[in-house]
């Protein structure tokens, strides 16, 4: 891919990120206009769920996953919106670094200080995004648990994603969470690649000063 097309592709990704930011703000404004900004929902999964046969018992519809919602938590909604906007900003910064990196590589400037710095920055931004995502999830789950009574309907208990004291006899509702494994893995690859580029730069400097 030529330098021009590489830049165009990353520019396109930056436009998508900007649209995501606008989308988040529009969604928040819409919720505010409808008086729903104080509502916060979070995906959850129930241990006790109903199963409906589909067709001639060929398949089943499982009413297993849903969301738990708490009201009167405008502060949490605002905090989550701020976190979402920061995450979008981090993504834009990653794409901006990637834009410069790909442009330099396509232009033949591969093993340079600027590229090593860009890769390290991408790694740091990915780690920051992962930590932010984990923090928002923990904060949301904690706030929801604080707002709810200990047992729901007298016989159900709601649990955070990580809990060790759950009663197997109790039909639990567990809040869902997927750890940011992919961003962490990508951050690790970015740091390793930065190290490889550093070695490449030293090798280039050595070979350039040999006559």
């Amino acid at each position: 891919m030529s330098a021009i097309w590489t830049k165009r592709f990353v520019n396109f990704l930056l436009v998508i990120v900007a649209l995501a930011a606008v989308g988040a703000l529009v969604q928040a404004w819409s919720a505010y206009s409808e008086g729903k900004f104080h509502m916060v929902s979070y995906p959850a999964e129930s241990d006790r769920y109903q199963v409906y046969p589909i067709g001639n018992w060929d398949a089943f519809w499982q009413a297993k996953e849903g969301s738990v919602r708490v009201d009167d938590h405008a502060w949490l909604r605002a905090a989550r919106l701020a976190g979402e906007l920061i995450a979008i900003g981090l993504l834009a910064a990653i794409f901006w670094q990637l834009r410069g990196f790909l442009g330099r590589v396509a232009g033949g400037d591969v093993f340079s200080d600027a590229n090593i710095l860009a890769l390290r920055r991408i790694g740091k931004l990915l780690v920051s995004g992962s930590v932010l995502g984990i923090s928002i999830a923990v904060m949301t789950q904690f706030a929801i648990l604080e707002a709810l009574p200990e047992t729901l309907d007298g016989d159900r208990i709601i649990l955070p994603s990580i809990s060790f004291g759950s009663d197997p006899e109790m039909p639990n509702i567990r809040m869902q969470y997927t750890p940011p494994i992919l961003p962490m893995l990508m951050a690790m690859i970015a740091f390793i690649t930065a190290g490889a580029f550093k070695s490449g730069q030293q090798y280039r400097e050595d070979s350039e000063s040999v006559v």
């Binding site: 050595d206 000063s209 040999v210 006559v211």
Partner: protein, 69 residues
């Protein structure tokens, strides 16, 4: 640097100019000048072989080791 380059001495003894030697060895005059002033990190065997051939000398005539004080 403990390695001293005596290329300028050998060139003066053989009465060979920098430009002429660079052409005969097959490297640029800039690179030969850098080698002459000791501003390089290494010399390829191919380059050293060509210099010794053109100047009719041994590698030891061009390079000298002087321990640092």
């Amino acid at each position: 640097m403990a390695i001293i380059t005596n290329l300028d001495v050998v060139m003066a003894q053989r009465k060979v100019s920098l430009k002429e030697l660079a052409e005969r060895v097959g490297i640029s005059a800039t690179n030969l000048s850098l080698l002459k002033t000791g501003k390089v990190n290494g010399v390829r065997y191919r380059t050293l072989n060509a210099i010794c051939r053109e100047l009719d000398c041994q590698p030891g005539d061009i390079f000298e080791y002087r321990p640092d004080d």
